[in-house]
């Protein structure tokens, strides 16, 4: 880290500020992940880390290494784009799994799935067992992903 000793102030200050902002946002995101009560709320907290938490850190890296390597270090942009494009995949996967489970358990706070014709046609030979196509295990259970 010797080469950082002669870093001019006008580069050092914004880099440090951006790093602190990025780290603080990521820390707040993880705090939220621990402290928030429902699963759906907890989904939101880490997005702080994947949006400006990542962006500020990457910006700091771009500024610093553009200076020390005397060429524009912009490959962090690729990282940023990849983080942005891949987060929805995991988020949707987790969110839909939670929805599916809460619905299967018959939790009332979760909006029902869009009704399908084939589900109510009763062609599976179990039509006499009740109108609900989904097994309502414990109708009033809180659902493991909702507030306790």
């Amino acid at each position: 880290m010797k080469h950082l000793a002669d870093l001019p102030l006008w580069i050092g200050v914004p880099v440090a500020l951006l790093l602190v902002i990025g780290a603080t946002l990521t820390l707040l995101g993880t705090l939220g992940l621990v402290r928030l009560r429902s699963f759906y709320d907890r989904l939101h907290a880490p997005t702080l880390g994947t949006s400006w938490g990542a962006a500020a850190t990457l910006l700091a890296s771009m500024i610093l290494f553009s200076w020390t390597e005397v060429r524009a270090a912009v490959h962090e942009l690729v990282l940023g784009v990849l983080v942005m494009v891949t987060t929805p995949v995991t988020l949707m996967l987790l969110g839909r799994a939670a929805l599916h489970r809460d619905r299967a358990e018959g939790h009332k706070d979760v909006p029902p799935a869009v009704a399908r014709e084939r589900e109510t046609s009763g062609t599976d030979g179990r039509a006499g067992q009740g109108a609900s196509p989904r097994p309502a295990l414990q109708p009033d259970s809180p659902g493991i992903f909702m507030d306790r």
């Binding site: 603080t24 946002l25 707040l28 995101g29 705090l31 939220g32 402290r35 928030l36 429902s38 759906y40 709320d41 989904l43 939101h44 907290a45 997005t47 702080l48 994947t50 949006s51 400006w52 912009v74 490959h75 942009l77 690729v78 942005m84 494009v85 987060t87 929805p88 988020l91 949707m92 969110g95 839909r96 929805l99 979760v110 909006p111 799935a113 869009v114």
Partner: protein, 162 residues
């Protein structure tokens, strides 16, 4: 043009990415272009339908609007976590939004926008009815969110894609 370069934007982006990851030299430009072309052909064989972008200006405007919104919602969500949700006043909930978009590419873009903005999570999209289920971290007014998604983001995407 169409058969030789099936996905021109993707190929251009791949070449750019190759040059960003390495050093800009003529050799890297040639190698990157070759790899991007092969990747473009491979995708062209898998997915012959390519996104038809009608106008670029709405996309540029959208990028500006979204980056501003991301900054704002970062601050909002961080403040909510620090204050413990306005000291217990915060209420989260689901919002159902009927979308007019049907193409997978603009829908994917909308998913990226909604996910990248803290405070909103794209949970489920029903392709038949076109209804999006959104979870909002700080839900005050359902209708305001419907307006926000439909008028602020979806309208621009509809303009941009044919």
């Amino acid at each position: 043009m169409n058969r030789l370069v099936p996905h021109p934007i993707l190929i251009l982006a791949l070449v750019l990415m190759w040059l960003l990851m390495t050093r800009f030299t003529l050799g890297n430009l040639i190698l990157g272009t070759a790899i991007a072309l092969v990747a473009g052909w491979a995708l062209g064989a898998l997915e012959p339908e390519r996104p038809r972008i009608r106008r670029f200006w709405p996309l540029i405007r959208l990028a500006g609007i979204v980056s501003l919104d991301i900054v704002r919602s970062n601050i909002a969500v961080a403040a909510l976590i620090v204050t413990g949700g306005r000291h217990g006043q915060r209420r989260s909930g689901f919002v159902q939004i009927p979308l007019r978009l049907r193409d997978p590419v603009p829908l994917g873009l909308l998913a990226v926008i909604i996910t990248a903005t803290p405070g909103t999570a794209w949970l489920e999209y029903d392709g038949e009815s076109g209804v999006l289920l959104l979870h909002v971290f700080d839900l005050v007014d359902d209708e305001a969110w419907r307006h926000l998604i439909r008028d602020r983001y979806e309208a621009l995407l509809l303009e941009a894609f044919a």
